[in-house]
């Protein structure tokens, strides 16, 4: 007999369909209802005990190490994580089969962050991140197929095959950003929008340990604190920048203290339960008017920085294998699922296989999808929201000026 959580089973997030959001909001309903109200069976609520080492605070009291959540939420997080991992592995295989070309940064090993954050926030919150964005795109509502199709340059891709690995967007997700650190000021702007509209929402602005030394990060810190913006500056510290370890590139590797006048929290990013709790805490912190917060998710990527980096020139293979076997977020949550009696070993294996099969199917569908038509109007179609275009869009030279009405170049015969 399957548990209630399993019955709601939707291993994959339903792409752009409404279902996936619905599923989540149900889970959220459970979470809030768990605090005493009726409607939730007692057996669905589980208590999670985090180890002491999960958090480290800076100018703040760390979140509670014990919290209550539902079995459904934990199961959903597990399913999300295995889908993200499978998707990233499919990307790796497709890249090595030369079906994905160009830039491709994978987040194998860092799944807990994208999944943990998404399960802790609502659709009204906004998320913006760096180029390592596949997992976030999927978690914010894009389907696996559309992400893979985007990577392969297909028309059915999430950015219509024009963005590629670094430029994927979804509702409430302001994209992968190709420029290192450039998303941080943008995320600060997003939180300014939330504040301006008087919304109970915050923006999660993610950046890597490499980007944390960018000047614009500190400019954003200043402005966010000055205006008391609901920004969660979330540093994904995967310990290595592009070919260099954090300690070789940063004068201070305690990234959660980088805010100086902004409180900070260091989180074990390899434990999704800690990520989930910290993300909920961060959202609460910002929404309740405490201003910005600097989070540091300490995580690890198993692969290289990008597909052209073998990832073993600046660290040992033993180190990677050690992290894989001891600290893997998926294996960690699996242990919790088994311990808490949410799923059996058999069931978990079934999920794994199902996720693999699902992603394999999506790879085939994405691969079979047609590439964009070879027509020039495609180049200009997403510059403006449809119906709000200016009459013409200026090009480099007058001959490149595009006429939206004519659907052709304005000054060409």
């Amino acid at each position: 007999m399957l548990t209630a959580g399993l019955k709601r089973q939707s291993i994959f997030r339903g792409g752009r369909s409404a279902l996936h959001r619905r599923g989540l909001s149900v889970a959220r309903g459970f979470a809030s209802a768990a605090k005493g109200k009726s409607g939730v069976e007692e057996s669905d609520v589980v208590e999670v005990q985090l180890p002491e080492s999960s958090f480290e605070g800076y100018m703040l009291d760390v979140p509670d190490l014990t919290y209550k959540t539902t079995k459904g939420t934990l199961l959903q997080m597990y399913k999300d994580m295995i889908i993200v991992r499978r998707m990233e592995m499919a990307c790796d295989a497709l890249y090595k089969a030369k079906k994905i070309r160009g830039f491709c940064h994978l987040s194998v090993g860092q799944e807990a962050i994208a999944v943990g954050i998404e399960n802790a926030i609502t659709k009204r919150d906004s998320v913006i991140t760096s180029y390592r964005c596949h997992g976030f795109t999927y978690m914010r509502g894009a389907s696996v197929q559309s992400v893979l199709a985007e990577l392969m340059g297909k028309r059915s891709g999430v950015s219509y095959g024009k963005g590629g690995s670094m430029h994927m967007y979804a509702p409430g997700f302001y994209g992968g950003n190709g420029i290192v650190g450039a998303q941080v000021p943008l995320g600060t702007g997003l939180s300014f929008a939330h504040q301006y509209r008087n919304e109970d929402a915050c923006s999660f602005t993610l950046y890597g340990d490499g980007a944390s030394n960018q000047g614009q990060v500190f400019e954003s810190f200043n402005m966010a604190k000055l205006w008391n913006l609901p920004t969660v500056f979330a540093c994904e510290n995967n310990k290595y920048g592009m070919g260099t370890s954090a300690s070789r590139s940063s004068a201070m590797t305690e990234y959660f203290k980088r805010g100086q006048y902004i409180p900070g929290l260091k989180v074990n990013g390899m434990d999704i339960l800690a990520v989930y709790q910290a993300s909920r805490f961060a959202k609460d912190w910002c929404v309740s008017g405490n201003g910005p917060l600097v989070l540091e998710y300490e995580t690890y990527r198993y692969g290289g920085h990008s597909m052209s980096d073998p990832g073993t020139t600046y660290r040992t293979r033993d180190e990677i294998q050690h992290m894989r076997s001891k600290n893997d977020p998926i294996a960690g949550l699996k242990m919790h699922l088994l311990e808490l009696g949410i799923a059996t070993e058999e069931e978990v294996k079934a999920y794994d296989k199902a996720a693999r099969k699902y992603v394999d199917e999506q790879v085939e569908l994405a691969d079979a999808a047609p590439p964009p038509e070879a027509k020039l109007s495609i180049l200009f179609e997403d510059v403006y929201v449809k119906g709000t275009e200016t009459p013409t869009l200026r090009g480099r030279i007058t001959d490149d000026t595009w006429d939206f009405e004519k659907q052709g170049f304005a000054n060409r015969g």
Binding site: D92, Y302, N411, R412
Partner: protein, 417 residues
């Protein structure tokens, strides 16, 4: 609620749900997975297998090095993405130049039984991969044919474009008018649409030019528009068709050519020389040396005198000293050069200490009436000389000629013959 959720699922998802149910009952549903030659870099086309680190049946975990691959640049470890087991190795150690994408092994799940494992039909075996290039060659042929046909079509376009009727084409109705054109049309009271419909354009891509409008109004002849368009068209591409290789026999011709050129140059740069012959009647007591030295000083004086004299009319209403200063070329520069020859008509010479030419000449004039009494004396007491003056005019300055002429006129006062 479950039902409604299911109804909203897309088709693929529905299928998936059903299969997951099956997964629960029968664990062994996946076939062996084909493991293809990976592209370890974007430019890698083929690679060799240095060594498999696992044997058939060995279990490996994610991140382990499965094999070592050799590319044209380096040897790279290939890591396993996932836990698994080697089911079958197709391409053994030491194989080289395996194209990317060719199946080199089959992998299975950790728990799979190798004996009952299904191997999928390989879609990318070596044999097929090798066959594909042959198939692609006819494709290449067609593409190149297409290219050639395209080239020929552009050629034909070009040839038709040079015809004068084709130079004037219908104006592009989507253009933004040039300011000069817009102004011209507005002054004539013609709307843009009307103009674009009626006036033929000679500009690129049907752009209406000012010349087109002027020709349309009859302000300039139509042919000039065509001629200009033709000229511009001819300059659009560099025509190298009439260029020939240099021949051996041409060398001789070329050697002669510079000389001709030099001659031409000398002819062209030949200065203006004004020659004036002045006859001089000098008393016989004046020696040749005396005359020539006094002539020398006189010419020198005249030379300086003419140079200093301004040519412009000072009394003119239009005279402005500052403007004159700016306009007149450097006053220190010589406007002409003087050479002269003094040739005696009669070689008889006398000693005389007098140096001044006027004294000599006036003396001779004075002497004439006094000596008129005995004409035979006067006849013999006069020596005649011919002074040939060559004035080389400096062509650099506009006032050189005038100054030279003035100099000559000045010298003419000497003429006593």
């Amino acid at each position: 609620m479950l039902l409604s959720a299911m109804l909203r699922l897309p088709n693929a998802a529905l299928r998936y749900r059903l299969t997951t149910r099956c997964v629960h009952n029968t664990m062994r549903i996946l076939n062996a997975q084909a493991f293809a030659m990976p592209a370890m870099s974007p430019t890698m086309e083929k690679g060799g297998i240095v060594e498999w680190k696992y044997k058939v049946g060995d279990i490996f975990s994610a991140g382990d090095v499965l094999l070592e691959v050799e590319t044209d640049k380096a040897q790279i470890d290939v890591e396993a993405l996932d836990d698994g087991k080697i089911a079958k190795i197709i391409v053994e150690n030491g194989a080289k130049d395996i194209p990317v994408g060719v199946t080199i092994a089959y992998l299975a799940d950790v728990n799979d039984d190798l004996s009952s494992l299904k191997f999928p039909k390989d879609s990318s075996s070596i044999a097929e991969k090798k066959a594909t290039p042959k198939q692609s060659t006819p494709n290449k042929g067609t593409t190149s044919r297409k290219e050639t046909s395209r080239v020929s079509s552009t050629d034909s376009e070009k040839s038709t474009g040079i015809g004068s009727t084709e130079l004037l084409q219908k104006a592009n109705t989507k253009q933004t008018l040039l300011p000069s054109v817009a102004q011209l049309l507005a002054s004539r009271g013609i709307t843009k649409d009307e103009a674009l419909e009626k006036i033929k354009s000679s500009g690129k891509n049907g752009r209406l030019l000012k010349g087109d409008v002027l020709a349309y109004f009859g302000l300039i002849p139509k042919e000039s528009v065509v001629n200009i368009a033709k000229y511009i068209k001819s300059g659009e591409q560099l025509d190298l068709s009439n260029i020939e290789f240099k021949k051996e026999s041409d060398k001789l011709v070329e050697q002669q050519k510079p000389k001709e050129n030099a001659k031409e140059q000398t002819v062209r740069s030949e200065p203006i020389i004004i020659t004036e012959q002045i006859g001089l009647k000098v008393p016989s007591n004046v020696t040749y040396e005396q005359l020539s030295s006094s002539l020398d000083s006189f010419l020198d004086e005249a030379y300086h005198f003419t140079h200093e004299q301004p040519l412009t009319n000072i009394r003119s209403d239009f005279y402005d000293p500052i403007f004159e200063h700016l306009v007149t070329p450097s006053p220190t520069e010589a406007r002409f050069d003087v050479t002269y020859q003094l040739t005696p008509v009669d070689t008889e010479l006398n000693d005389c200490a007098q140096n001044d030419i006027f004294d000599l000449l006036s003396a001779s004039n004075k002497s004439i009436p006094t000596q008129r009494g005995n004409e035979s004396d006067t006849e013999t007491s006069h020596n005649e000389y011919i002074l040939t003056v060559n004035v080389q005019v400096n062509e650099k300055f506009s006032d050189s000629k005038g100054k030279s002429e003035r100099f000559i006129n000045y010298l003419k006062q000497l003429n006593t013959v």
